[in-house]
Symmetry: none
Subunit: 242 residues, 4 copies
DNA sequence: CATGAATGAGTGTTCATTCAT
DNA sequence: TATGAATGAACACTCATTCAT
């Protein structure tokens, strides 16, 4: 923080260049000498700091993901309600991805499908973060925020899949500037998904949702209805689709 | 269909081999000579049929996606309701991905992030298919199936992102055999997402959700209420989360 | 044999160039591209024929040593006496080394001390040939040609060490033309070494080595000796030095 | 000698490390940084003392061979007989090679075939030592110890080639511990070679090797011979083999 | 059509060596 | 004197691609 102005070290310059070039050309098509040139060092210097081209690749998310997830974790204890925490976590993803487009391109388009990356500390940090999301959803199920029949894994997949898909397409369209930032998409997405799994609170719902257009008429209807239908069970529940 | 038993042509053998090898090793790590060996032809023969290694790569989804989407399109006219058509389209994705794991690995893990692939006929077919999905969602909005304030793009992203995420993870875990096939995941996912955007049909809702425990009491309550509140609008609708 | 005039194949040209360059500059200092240039092919063509720089290195003695030792083996059955066979074997070494100076430089100065070369078929051929030498010496000991107390291993070391040393020095002096060819050195060397281990054949030796200083005295001594010792065998054999 | 306990200087530590590593891995495969690490100094420090990797290589035999040959030279004046001096010189080789296996591996397996090494002071010392050997053999010829027709160069080659060959093979078998030390091989080798070139001392030979088949006949022959040939020197000398 | 044979172009990686501190 | 940091210069090896047969 204090050294914002400090001249970047060689190592940082190399990682910055590598991130940009790996993200834009893909790992196999990027060459060490292009990276070293952009960083203003020699090829050999890259190998001073990173033993291997792949080591350099993995060093990037290693640094970023650790920084990010530690940061976001710090905020969580201050948020009480499950949905709020869920939103905070998703927001940290979205912010990270939006503020570091090269990073998100790298992770979403290349690293996620790299087998060796999945054995990396960086990927472990990502997994840890995904696990917290899962735990949070489970807590929501346990405390009645979400319906008891919710499949926590599936919800997580829908949540992360949605965000990832939005970013992947954003990247594939060349990251167009949009009036709404990517972050503005988060709440609608969350609302769609969460509204699908929120536990219904029945009594309240009657109270809340009842909209009496004409009380007199209703009163009459009820009176009329009473003698005839003892067990007026106007059906349904039709909750499952089809 | 009719030629199931016919001996595969050279071209088909090459494409089959290429699909498997590209999917398993990634495009840059696959070599023409490995493919030609598996196909039982010479390197040079591969170049007889496909001008370039990349041409061969793109020829694969070209063929598959055209076949598939034409097939699935044929069914749609027979399905009247929007949700049914939506489900049919999603199902055709899921079936394709699950039945052709090499193909889904190739498309989801490699091609999606390939810039040149986006200028391909194969990608055009994929876009067309994605566009039909969008149209269907819009139709649902127009005909009142979905809420008027639904963001069709967002819904499509959530739908496809969920499915893609599920398949990507399935691949990255080595495509484990699961008791429920991937297809069984579709309905829960759809239900979560669609239930979040279905238009509430107010009258029905009153009818549907009202559960009158004691009609007499209610009747009395209403009578009591009448004189005081002419326009008894017991608040509510509180639809926004939190 | 019949195709002496035939144009050399690429493979042969590569091996020829490699032999010369490896011998003159040493294996690590030789480069593939120098070899390929001299052979008139591309670098990649070298790798068509030889998987590795080291494979190319080992392919050279592989070919030569097999050819040579089979050839020399063919003559041996026609030579009865042990010394003659020994000489024939040594001669085949010397001829090979002298007629293929690059080959002898390579083998004597570089390959002999190369650990991986010792696991090679070429080295197996060399070992086989060295073993025949040993067998021959042993046979000489068994049949009385050589003294019974001869250390066959040691003799072989002395024989081969002598020849190798002579060639190493010949090479290190830049292979000077000499009035006597290297082959002319073989017999003197053999004579020195073999004369050191030949079993003495008593009768002949008497004739040959007798030097009578004083015939009268001897005559008298003999006369005196006659009655007593019919078979005067004045012992001796005293063969060990010192 | 006096400074056995003194802490080794940087320079010595570097040379010790270099000797071991050059010998074990070969010069081209050894790296400066491995050497400097083993010596406990930095790469740059190596270059303080030795201008070049090759300079470091040549500095090692330079030091050792000077030390050794000066030492051995000191003893020679005390040995009168030629064979004794020859033996002393050969022994100093064998001792040096056996007590400093790294050194002998380096010299015999790598330096001997290095052209630039032959322009080195170290090689000059080796040549000087080889020259003394030659002088000694010549002296033996001159003073009648060795036969007049001995080829001094050839004898030296046989002597040194034998020792070198034995050591090379010892190294190539991984320097096995042997019941007889390498030094114990020297005398048998010397005996084989020298016995092949020793001048015959006639009297002893008569006494030792005389085998009289028929004393009477011999006696008569001698009597007959006496008047005619005062100094009957019956032929002989037939020294060349076959 | 099919292919064996050939190669141009390229890249990751290594290390001896330098030099400012 | 000692060295940490930096690099220039190489080199083995790979592979998509071509083309004569």
């Amino acid at each position: 923080m204090a050294d914002h102005t400090r001249k970047k070290t060689r190592k940082e310059r190399i990682m910055d260049a590598a991130l940009r070039i790996f993200a834009e050309k893909s790992f196999p098509e990027a060459t060490i000498s292009e990276i070293s040139k952009e960083a203003g060092v020699s090829d050999a210097t890259v190998y001073e700091y990173f033993g291997t081209k792949e080591d350099l690749l993995f060093a990037i998310p290693e640094k970023i993901s650790n920084d990010t997830f530690e940061e976001s974790e710090a905020v969580l204890p201050f948020i009480q309600d499950v949905e709020g925490r869920l939103r905070a976590m998703m927001l940290s993803y979205v912010k990270l991805y939006e503020n570091n487009p090269h990073y998100s391109a790298l992770v979403l388009l290349q690293l996620m499908s790299n087998k060796r990356f999945r054995q990396t500390d960086a990927h472990a940090a990502i997994r840890r973060s995904a696990h917290r999301l899962l735990d949070c959803i489970r807590e929501g199920i346990a405390n009645g925020t979400f319906r008891a029949d919710t499949d926590a894994y599936l919800i997580r997949s829908v949540l992360m899949g949605s965000v990832e898909h939005l970013f992947i397409h954003w990247h594939m369209q060349g990251m167009p500037k949009r009036d709404k930032s990517m972050m503005a998409l988060l709440d609608p997405v969350l609302e769609i998904i969460l509204s699908g799994i929120r536990a219904k609170k029945p009594e309240q719902e009657v109270v809340l949702r009842l909209k009496v257009e004409n009380a007199k008429t209703l009163s009459r209807m009820l009176s009329d209805a009473l003698p005839e239908k003892k067990k007026g069970k106007p059906s349904l529940k039709k909750n499952t689709v089809k």
